[in-house]
């Protein structure tokens, strides 16, 4: 076997060592990682840009809609107020107390033996209204007190069929001093005062509280 001497082994070893330099290899590795980091950062930057564009678009849409929505809300409040006023007006008109039917019913209840000398009616309250009526008069007949009593009950019956809780009471009932001519005969009289009370209408609902925004 021939002896082979490599006179360049030192040079080759130095080259080999230089090629496998850990510092150099780690620098390559680090550069790779840095490149990946940079790529990832730019990808994220791109996503951020897309998101900013989307946000700007949404913000611009909101900015254009917001004044319109505020104006719409204001107009809605105005319209609702008008509607509420209109409803209230309709309710007021519909829930008015009508005196004419009551005057008619009283006139139907008064017999020919009675003369009403004074009628005073007063309406009080809103929503549920209380009407009080005072009738002063003279009744004549063989039993004028009974005539007056018949009138009181007739009024209570007539008004009770139409109004809620209609009551009719004597405020006073006294024998009169005067005699009157009725059907060609002199008849004794009685003076009376009848109080009539009745309620009508419905309780008005309280106005809804304004919502806090």
């Amino acid at each position: 076997m021939a002896l082979h001497i490599n006179l360049y082994h030192e040079v080759q070893k130095a080259r080999q060592l230089k090629r496998r330099d850990p510092l150099k290899l780690s620098m390559y590795g680090l550069s790779g990682i840095a490149a990946l980091f940079a790529i990832y950062y730019f990808v994220e930057l791109g996503r951020m840009h897309v998101m900013s564009v989307e946000l700007n678009r949404v913000q611009a849409q909101y900015n254009s809609l917001e004044p319109k929505a505020k104006a719409a809300k204001k107009r809605e409040d105005e319209i609702n107020l008008e509607i509420r006023k209109s409803d209230l007006m309709a309710k007021r008109i519909e829930s008015r107390f009508y005196w004419a039917p009551m005057i008619e019913q009283i006139s139907q209840a008064v017999p020919r033996e009675v003369q009403i000398t004074r009628l005073v009616g007063d309406l009080s309250g809103e929503g549920v209204r209380k009407c009080s009526l005072t009738l002063d008069g003279l009744s004549a007949g063989s039993d004028p007190r009974k005539v007056a009593e018949d009138l009181r009950t007739a009024i209570a019956e007539k008004l009770g069929s139409k109004y809620k809780s209609a009551t009719s009471n004597f405020k006073s009932l006294e024998d009169g001093t005067e005699m009157v001519l009725l059907d060609g005969r002199q008849m004794p009289t009685a003076s009376f005062a009848i109080n009539v009370t009745l309620t009508t209408g419905e309780e008005t609902a309280p106005a809804p509280a304004r919502k806090k925004r």
Binding site: R20, L65, E82, R96, A100, Q115, L119
Partner: protein, 183 residues
């Protein structure tokens, strides 16, 4: 493979630099970017319902606007019933003419009180006293009926009828009524 002392020093220095670079990358670049992204996403998501609400509000108002004419017809009719000008100028004349058409003459109408309507904004309530010195009971009832049916903004509050001693056929009547007028 043995590392020389100098190489070990270089490796340690390189490692330290690497740590610094990684820390800076995350703390100065990536995390602030993510924070911005999150904030932008949140803002965009939060604006979604706001836009939806604004669009709904606009649509609701448009729908309401379409029906306002129908829903406020009573108010507009009531407005049309009230003449222009001071009520003291037109109301007594209107009542006098009205009762004259019912065959009742010599009527006196006076303004008693005036108050602002709290619920019906833009309206006020006037209370009038009407004195009718001579009227038949039936005639008076008919006039009251017509007054209540034809004037929807009136409400009679008190009625007083006194029989006359001199004339059994006629009475003296006094009524107090409320009337709604524009403010």
């Amino acid at each position: 493979m043995k590392l020389a002392r100098e190489e070990i020093q270089k490796l340690i220095l390189g490692g330290l630099i690497l740590l610094g670079v990684v820390y800076s990358y995350f703390d100065l670049l990536l995390f602030p970017l993510k924070k911005h992204q999150d904030a932008a996403t949140k803002s965009a998501v939060a604006l979604g319902p706001e836009i939806q609400n604004a669009q709904t509000q606009i649509k609701n108002t448009q729908d309401l606007e379409k029906s306002v004419g129908e829903k406020t017809i009573v108010l507009r009719q009531a407005d049309a019933m009230i003449p222009e000008g001071s009520p003291v100028a037109w109301f007594p004349t209107m009542i006098g003419d009205f009762l004259k058409r019912q065959g009742i003459e010599k009527v006196t109408t006076k303004l008693n009180t005036e108050s602002v309507e709290k619920e019906l904004v833009g309206f006020r309530r006037l209370t009038w006293g009407i004195d009718i010195p001579k009227v038949g009971y039936g005639q008076f009832g008919g006039a009251i009926c017509a007054l209540e049916n034809e004037n929807h903004l009136l409400e009679i509050r008190t009625v007083q009828i006194d029989a006359s001693r001199d004339d059994a056929e006629t009475q003296r009547a006094t009524i107090t009524l409320n009337n709604l007028v524009k403010q």
